[in-house]
Amino acid sequence: MTSNPATSTVWRLEVSSRCVGSGICLATAPRHFHLVDGYSQPRTREVGADDDALAAAELCPMNAIAITALDSGDEVA
C-alpha cells in the first residue's frame, strides 16, 4: 500500500463532460465549484485537501468529479 491519497495535501479537481449541472457540488463545496453555462467547473484546478470537495465528488450523481492527489497521481475520489 502506498500512502493514503486522501491525506495528500494538494489535490487536482476535474469535472468531466458527464456533468449534467445538478448543482450538488456547488451546494456542497461552493468554494471549489461554480456553474458555467449551466454546468459545473472547478474554480481552481489545484486545491488543498478538503472534506467538502471530497463530499462533492462522492455525492455527484454522475460521478463526474475526479480528484487526484497531485504528488502521487493517486485517485482520491
Binding site: V20, G21, I24, A27, T28, D37, Y39, L59, P61, M62
Partner: protein, 425 residues
C-alpha cells in the same frame, strides 16, 4: 408588487391540463409569486431559470419540516403523526450535514456505473412486458406498461424480494399526494398510510433476516451499525419505494404524449437523426413529470428579488416554468429533440438533485425506444383536453393513457410513423 395581488391558484383541471400559459404569465411579471395550494396553504412560487437555480442553491433555505411556521402547519397537506416522524425524515426533508451522510449510500447504489451494469436487464424487463401485448390493438399504457416497468426496475435495483414485490400495491404511492387535515378524504388517506407503514416494516424485517449486497440491505446494515436510526431507515425505504417509481411512470407517459403530439419530432427520433439520450433530455425539459419542487423554508424573514418572504412560509420552485424560460432556452415552447446543450431542471438542482436521475433517464430512454420500436403506428386517440391529468400538485402525469397501435390502424395525421422501425441499440 406581487404580494398585493390575489394569490395564484396552482390547481384545478384547467391549470393541470396546461400550466405553461400560467407560468409564462407569471415569469413575465417576475420571479417571486404568492400562490395558493388546494390545502389552502399560501406559499411563494419561484419561476424563471436563474431564480430557480439560485433558490435551489440557497443554503439559507432548509427542507426540515420543523422550519415551517404555524400558519403553514395548520393547513399543510402533510402526513399526520406518528407517521410523519417515521416516514418523512428521508433525504428530501433533511439538511446538511445529516443529509450528506445519508445520501452517500443512495448515490453509490444508483451511480451511473451501477445503472450501466443493469441496462441489459432493464431492456429485458421492457421487452418482456411488451411481449404480453397482442400484435395490434389498444393499450392502456400506465397499467400495462409504465407502472409495471418502473416498479420492476426499481425492485431489482434496490433489492426488493419477489415475495414482497407481489404484495406491493400501487395506490400506496398516492401517500405522497397527501390531503390536508380539512379534507373529507383524510381518513382514507391515513388508512393507506398505515398499510404502507406495515409493508415497510416487513421489508426491513426481511432484509434484517436475509442480508444482501443491495441498497435495501445496505440501508438496514447502516441501521445495525448505528449510522441510521429507525425512523431514518423506514423513511428512506419509503422514499425509495415512492419517489423511485411514480415519477418514472409519469415521465414515460409524458414522453409518449409529447412525441405523439409532435409527429415530425418522433420521425427524427425513429430515423436516428435525433439521438435517443439527447431526445429524452428534451422530453424531460419540454414536459417533465416533476412540475414543482417540495417545500423549502427560510429560517429568517428574507428578501428575494424585492419580495420579503416571512420565516417558515413555504417556498416552492416551478421546475416546469424554469424549463420553459426564454431567457435560458431558445424557443422554449418548441420540442426540439436535438436540443443541446440542455441544462434543464427536470431532476431539480443543488443538494437535493434527484439521486436516481441516471436510473430515471435510463428507464425513460429504454421505455421510449422499446415502445416506438415494438408498437408500430402508436397513436393517441384522445384529444389532449380529454387526457386524465393527474391532479397532484407537484406532478405532471396522466392517470390513464389509452393508445392504439399496429399496422392495421395507422395513426391519424401521423403518416411518418408508418412502417418505420428503429433498430435496437
Amino acid at each position: 408588487m406581487t404580494t398585493l395581488d390575489e394569490p395564484v391558484a396552482l390547481y384545478g383541471p384547467d391549470f393541470k391540463r396546461d400550466p405553461y400559459a400560467v407560468y409564462a404569465r407569471l415569469r413575465e411579471q417576475g420571479p417571486v409569486h404568492r400562490v395558493q395550494f388546494p390545502s389552502g396553504v399560501l406559499g411563494w412560487l419561484i419561476t424563471g431559470y436563474d431564480a430557480a437555480v439560485e433558490t435551489l442553491s440557497d443554503g439559507r433555505l432548509g427542507k426540515d419540516h420543523r422550519l415551517g411556521n404555524d400558519d403553514w402547519r395548520a393547513l399543510a397537506a402533510i402526513m399526520p403523526e406518528p407517521q410523519h416522524s417515521r416516514l418523512q425524515v428521508h433525504l428530501l426533508h433533511q439538511d446538511p450535514p445529516r443529509h450528506t451522510g445519508m445520501r452517500k449510500p443512495v448515490t453509490e447504489a444508483l451511480s451511473p456505473r451501477r445503472v450501466r451494469q443493469h441496462r441489459d436487464r432493464i431492456q429485458q424487463i421492457a421487452e418482456d412486458l411488451l411481449d404480453e401485448l397482442p400484435e395490434t390493438g389498444a393499450v392502456e399504457l400506465v397499467s400495462s406498461f409504465a407502472a409495471r416497468f418502473s416498479f420492476a426496475v426499481l425492485s431489482e435495483m434496490i433489492g426488493l424480494p419477489v415475495h414482497l414485490q407481489r404484495r406491493f400495491r400501487r395506490e400506496w404511492c398516492k401517500v405522497v399526494q397527501p390531503v390536508g387535515p380539512r379534507s373529507p378524504h383524510r381518513a382514507a388517506y391515513v388508512a393507506l398510510l398505515h398499510e404502507l407503514q406495515d409493508y415497510i416494516a416487513d421489508v426491513v424485517d426481511d432484509k434484517r433476516e436475509h442480508t444482501s449486497p443491495d441498497l435495501l440491505g445496505e440501508l438496514v446494515a447502516a441501521n445495525t451499525r448505528g449510522e441510521l436510526n429507525e425512523a431514518e431507515l423506514s423513511s428512506m425505504v419509503f422514499q425509495l419505494l415512492v419517489a423511485g417509481q411514480e415519477p418514472v411512470t409519469n415521465m414515460i407517459c409524458m414522453a409518449v404524449i409529447s412525441l405523439l403530439r409532435h409527429p415530425q419530432q418522433l420521425a427524427r427520433l425513429r430515423s436516428g437523426e435525433a439521438d435517443l439520450a439527447t431526445a429524452v433530455e428534451e422530453l424531460f425539459r419540454y414536459d417533465g413529470s416533476f412540475e414543482l419542487t417540495t417545500w423549502r423554508f427560510f429560517r429568517e424573514p428574507t428578501e428575494v428579488h424585492g419580495v420579503t418572504i416571512p420565516a417558515g412560509d413555504s417556498v416552492i420552485v416551478a421546475l416546469s416554468a424554469a424549463n420553459r424560460d426564454p431567457a435560458r432556452f431558445a424557443d422554449p415552447d418548441t420540442l426540439d429533440l436535438t436540443r443541446s446543450p440542455n441544462p434543464h431542471l427536470g431532476f431539480g438542482h443543488g443538494i437535493h438533485f434527484c439521486p436516481g436521475a441516471t436510473l430515471g433517464r435510463t428507464e425513460v430512454q429504454v421505455a421510449v425506444e422499446t415502445l416506438i420500436r415494438r408498437l408500430p403506428n402508436l397513436a393517441l386517440p384522445a384529444e389532449p383536453d380529454e387526457l386524465a391529468w393527474v391532479q397532484a400538485v407537484l406532478t405532471r402525469g396522466v392517470e390513464r393513457l389509452a393508445l392504439t397501435y399496429g399496422p392495421e390502424s395507422p395513426a391519424d395525421g401521423c403518416p411518418v410513423a408508418a412502417h418505420r422501425s428503429a433498430s435496437p441499440t
